[in-house]
Symmetry: C2
Subunit: 293 residues, 2 copies
């Protein structure tokens, strides 16, 4: 299949590589060309713009940074919808705005193109290993048509509903993670200040009702002062902003989400944007007049 792939950041490059390895014919474009170098070396062709990439594609896939980027590469003057032929398929893998996904679905339909919003979770590790969870919004027809592609990228592929439902599901995922991270970081600061040995505490609390993926995988990094990003604070701030925005539009007052978004925003504003989400412990400690580690 001829595939136009837009966006070759850490996630996008790994995902595109799986499609290339499966024998698909890839045309790639991304903001900074050198980030596509490995794909070009492996046989992908380069296009100057998203519209150029999509000109003779059967499928256009986008994995970019923000809703503004999605708007740019999909419906902008050099976006894929300028050139995608009727009968083709468009998949946006970016974690983006559910309302934008609905708008894109409508514009795609007007152009005779089927479209899906399909944000993922699983991070850079999941992208490399093709073990992503893919949350899909759009028509059943488009979903079934995309399944062979999704199967090359992830292991948990679930159709969540019509346009935007994939994005809403991803925001649910982020609401869950945010609260768990707040609890984890507050708990670890409390443990240290109460004079406990946090690693010993984890032996008691890690296997029962307090257990979580975050506690298992990120608490050890917090205790090591290892803030290397699996997922960066600045991206999480973007996602939590989307979640808060849509919660407000739905008339929802979610104090846990507000608290988490406030803490992560403060962490970014204090210079932690490029750190991993586990660096929240620094902000929790800072509010208490403490340093971490």
């Amino acid at each position: 299949m001829k595939i136009a792939w837009v966006g070759t950041g850490v996630m996008g490059a790994s995902m595109a590589r799986h499609l290339l390895d499966a024998g698909h014919d890839l045309v790639v474009t991304t903001r900074t060309k050198h980030k596509a170098a490995a794909l070009l070396d492996a046989g992908a062709r380069w296009a100057a713009t998203a519209a150029d990439a999509a000109a003779d594609a059967d499928l256009a896939a986008t994995m970019v940074g923000s809703p503004d980027d999605v708007r740019d590469v999909v419906v902008g003057p050099s976006g894929v919808l300028q050139t995608l032929r009727p009968g083709t398929l468009l998949i946006d893998f970016t974690t983006s705005d559910p309302s934008l996904a609905v708008e894109i679905a409508q514009r795609a339909e007007d152009a005779g193109v089927e479209s899906l919003d399909a944000p993922v979770s699983g991070g850079d590790v999941g992208a490399r290993a093709a073990t992503l969870s893919i949350m899909v919004g759009g028509t059943t027809t488009a979903y079934e048509r995309a399944l062979p592609i999704f199967g090359l990228l992830g292991v948990t592929v679930v159709h969540q509903g019509g346009p935007g439902a994939g994005q809403h599901t991803k925001l649910v995922n982020q609401i869950l993670i945010a609260a768990t991270m707040v609890g984890m970081c507050e708990a670890l600061v409390y443990a240290r200040e109460a004079g406990l040995d946090a690693r010993t505490v984890l032996r008691s609390v890690g296997g029962g009702a307090a257990a979580s993926w975050s506690l298992e995988h990120l608490a050890p990094r917090v205790l090591d002062g290892d803030f290397a990003p699996g997922f960066s604070v600045e991206h999480f701030v973007k996602d939590l902003g989307l979640a808060l925005d849509h919660a407000h539009r739905l008339g929802l007052d979610l104090p846990g989400l507000s608290t988490a978004a406030g803490l992560y925003t403060a962490l970014r504003d204090h210079g932690g944007g490029r750190d991993g989400t586990q660096a929240l412990v620094v902000e929790v400690a800072r509010r208490c007049g403490l340093r971490w580690p």
Copy 2:
């Protein structure tokens, strides 16, 4: 061993039963005698007060409702420290105040009695199955002496430090759970209001970075509107109050904990005290002007 057991509520009755079944000689007392009926039928003897129960005991164990209850049955005028002989052992399994644990350890030492604070997690199921996590504070000597008893009750038995360290560890456990529950309930309300099918959403988010014990075990109950208590809101409010109190004493400002404690307190004040902690979804919905289920 002659064991005085004080407190035969849901947790205490199951725990005491394991000691009885292991061949220990039990004398029990509790506020409401009929709650000890099964233990008495199984061979335990009854005592009118904690002091009476402890009069010829080698070990006194307490599992009561609150720090005030602990104070009453341990250091009160009819408490176990009135009668426990020098050289005996005292274990408080109640989730209680770390400062009270320190005070009790001092008073016990004055009486020549070794003491441990040993709150548990694992709930009624863990108590019945003897799979509790036991978080122990006190001297190493006392800890090692109590290990054969702990081994009859739990599978994860960890010495966390000196007097009060068990209680602090349990509060860390509750801080973790509280935040996770807030995130879970907010996420499920968001999912419903965004038009998603929450069970389908759980297929996407349940296995990755958003995974938690709460999401796996309690989200299905939330979706069923099943608020039967594994652990009750009123007990959780007590625990979160202890955690907040000690956070303040340690000079810590923990906004996630404050948010969770506020929500759970409001839920109790709205009549949900006897429900399980998963009923928090009702309070989250109520704040948004919604009903759940």
